[in-house]
């Protein structure tokens, strides 16, 4: 794949972060939504911002774009303070928003050309770029189509193509595959994976743990406006969850009995009404016995989803 969708990561001797956020806080009225976030994103990194609904992910992204004014804290993008330099900074950012805001009155190609014009890109070079992007996102034969006639997956791909129209140095993806069927999702993941391997700096939010596992080189987990964990996904899972998970289904008194029998093992337990989750850090004989003998047991590798649920709880977060 040719690399011109994104600007080449410039190799400098001291790598300064692309995004530097400190003490970032936002209150809507008297409701605190973001409570003092500190994080940085370095060139070539792909950072996944994870959290339950209402954790403050989208608000954080909107603050990076100047669409929400922080109550407190500092934001630097490309080593420039955000306030007062928004125009210069946004020239180099590409965004794929959570809400589809394609222009329904314009065709696929016109959407890209019009968007390019907001960046001051000349129409002739915008056209070349738009056609390559449409090809890259498998929309090459759709350029004259009205937006209404596109499927959900095609719209999402067009939003991504639009986000890349200005060859951004930072790509922000807010739920890039929300509401799509598996086929459509996998096509997008494959394309975003190609961009990531090419060294694209990305900030990504998602509810699909699989998406984050495969696309993010580092994850930041936020809950109720605070960062509760961050690191490389695989090592975080290994350290905080374990290597494997056993899910045992049974009556609760039977599960309690199993749980007591595991006291000497290096495991963590989580019990719901009639299911026992055993997060295995190291195998021990008692576990082997359960795995072999119990009727209803599922054994699987520990995943980011386990970590996420462990940190943010199993209960619903609707308020």
């Amino acid at each position: 794949m040719s690399g011109w969708f994104m600007n080449e990561a410039k190799s400098t001797k001291t790598t300064r972060p692309i995004v530097e956020v400190s003490g970032l806080t936002k209150h809507f009225g008297d409701r605190p939504v973001v409570k003092g976030l500190d994080f940085s994103i370095f060139p070539g990194e792909s950072v996944g911002l994870l959290g339950p609904n209402g954790a403050g992910k989208t608000t954080t992204i909107r603050m990076l774009l100047g669409l929400v004014r922080p109550t407190d804290g500092h934001i630097k993008v490309f080593d420039i303070p955000l306030s007062g330099h928004l125009r210069r900074i946004k020239q180099r950012i590409g965004v794929s928003p959570q809400m589809d805001n394609l222009d329904p009155d314009l065709s696929v190609l016109e959407n890209l050309l019009t968007y390019a014009s907001y960046f001051g890109i000349k129409r002739s070079s915008a056209r070349d770029r738009a056609e390559s992007l449409l090809g890259f996102f498998a929309l090459g034969n759709r350029s004259g189509e009205i937006i209404e006639h596109l499927s959900g997956g095609q719209r999402r791909r067009l939003l991504l193509a639009r986000a890349l129209i200005n060859s951004p140095d930072l790509l922000i993806l807010d739920e890039p595959t929300v509401g799509l069927d598996p086929q459509a999702r996998h096509l997008i993941w494959e394309r975003l994976g190609a961009l990531r391997r090419h060294g694209t700096t990305m900030l990504l939010t998602s509810h699909y743990m699989e998406e984050v596992s495969s696309l993010a080189t580092r994850v930041i987990i936020v809950d109720q406006g605070r960062i509760i964990a961050s690191g490389k996904p695989a090592s975080m899972v290994r350290q905080m969850v374990g290597i494997e998970v056993l899910e045992v289904s049974d009556r609760s008194d039977e599960l309690k009995r199993l749980a007591t029998g595991l006291r000497s093992c290096d495991v963590e337990l989580d019990m719901t009404k009639n299911r026992l989750f055993i997060y295995v850090k190291k195998w021990c004989p008692e576990l082997e016995a359960i795995a072999l003998s119990h009727r209803q047991v599922i054994k699987r590798p520990a995943s980011l989803e386990d970590l996420f649920l462990k940190l943010t709880g199993r209960t619903l977060r609707e308020d």
Binding site: L67, K90, P97, D103, T114, Y118, F119
Partner: protein, 247 residues
């Protein structure tokens, strides 16, 4: 600013027919009904037949309707359901440029309607003077004023119903009481002052003067009021749009 204008222009080209008929229908029908229908029974006003008397004001009203509609129903769709404004604000375009682009676009639509009305006047035996060329920038200013006023409403609106108030409490009274249909000079002082506070009155007066090449006194006053109200309204629109779009 120009890019925002251009985006709206491209969309408008696709709906040109419906858009023009929709905005021009009312002024034309009034010209017919009042000018021909009612006008036959009315003696001349200020030396003009009734149809001649109301024609320039109806040109100004066509500008008002087009600009105000575009900046309310049109702009509100872009602000709410379509998310167009948010998409634009994710690019280097600022809220200020976006708002001014929308105002210039509304003014352009207003001016197009005004020009079509002007061009159609000879069909009604109304022949505009050469002075009418000077009316064009004034109509554009008027369009900016009403587009800005519309955006003020859009920035404060929570749904489309809100614009019913705007139409029935602001636009319709302006249409009826800005001296399009009656001579202001014959009113008593209090009524004249009241009518003088309406922004459209001054454009209507200027339109009538320029259309028939009779530049009367007070044209400077009319000009100053038109320019100043336009400037103030644009400023308020920018402030309110910023408040609406940047949380």
């Amino acid at each position: 600013m120009f890019r925002v204008w251009m985006r709206n222009f491209r969309v408008w080209q696709k709906h040109i027919q419906a858009s023009l008929i929709g905005n021009l229908g009312q002024p034309f029908l009034f010209l017919l009904a009042m000018g021909y229908g009612l006008g036959r029974q009315i003696p001349t006003i200020e030396g003009l037949t009734y149809l001649q008397f109301i024609a320039p004001g109806l040109v100004a009203s066509a500008v008002m309707y087009s600009a105000a509609f575009e900046a309310t129903y049109g702009a509100y769709t872009r602000l709410s359901t379509q998310g167009t404004f948010e998409a634009i604000l994710m690019t280097p375009v600022s809220v200020e440029s976006l708002t001014m682009g929308e105002i210039l676009w509304g003014a352009t639509k207003g001016l197009i309607s005004g020009l079509i009305m002007l061009a159609a006047l000879p069909l009604f035996d109304v022949i505009p003077s050469y002075w009418t060329a000077l009316l064009i920038p004034i109509l554009f200013l008027e369009g900016m004023f009403f587009a800005a006023l519309g955006l003020v409403m859009t920035a404060t609106a929570t749904n489309y119903e809100f614009f019913n108030y705007f139409t029935s409490l602001i636009i319709t009274p302006l249409f009826l009481f800005s001296g399009i249909f009656f001579s202001i000079d014959t009113l008593n002082l209090k009524a004249r002052i009241a009518v003088g506070t309406l922004p459209l009155t001054h454009v209507v007066s200027l339109a009538r003067m320029l259309c028939y090449g009779k530049i009367g006194g007070q044209w400077q006053l009319h000009m100053i009021i038109t320019v100043v109200t336009c400037g103030i309204c644009c400023w308020i629109a920018v402030v309110l749009m910023r408040r609406r779009l940047i949380q």
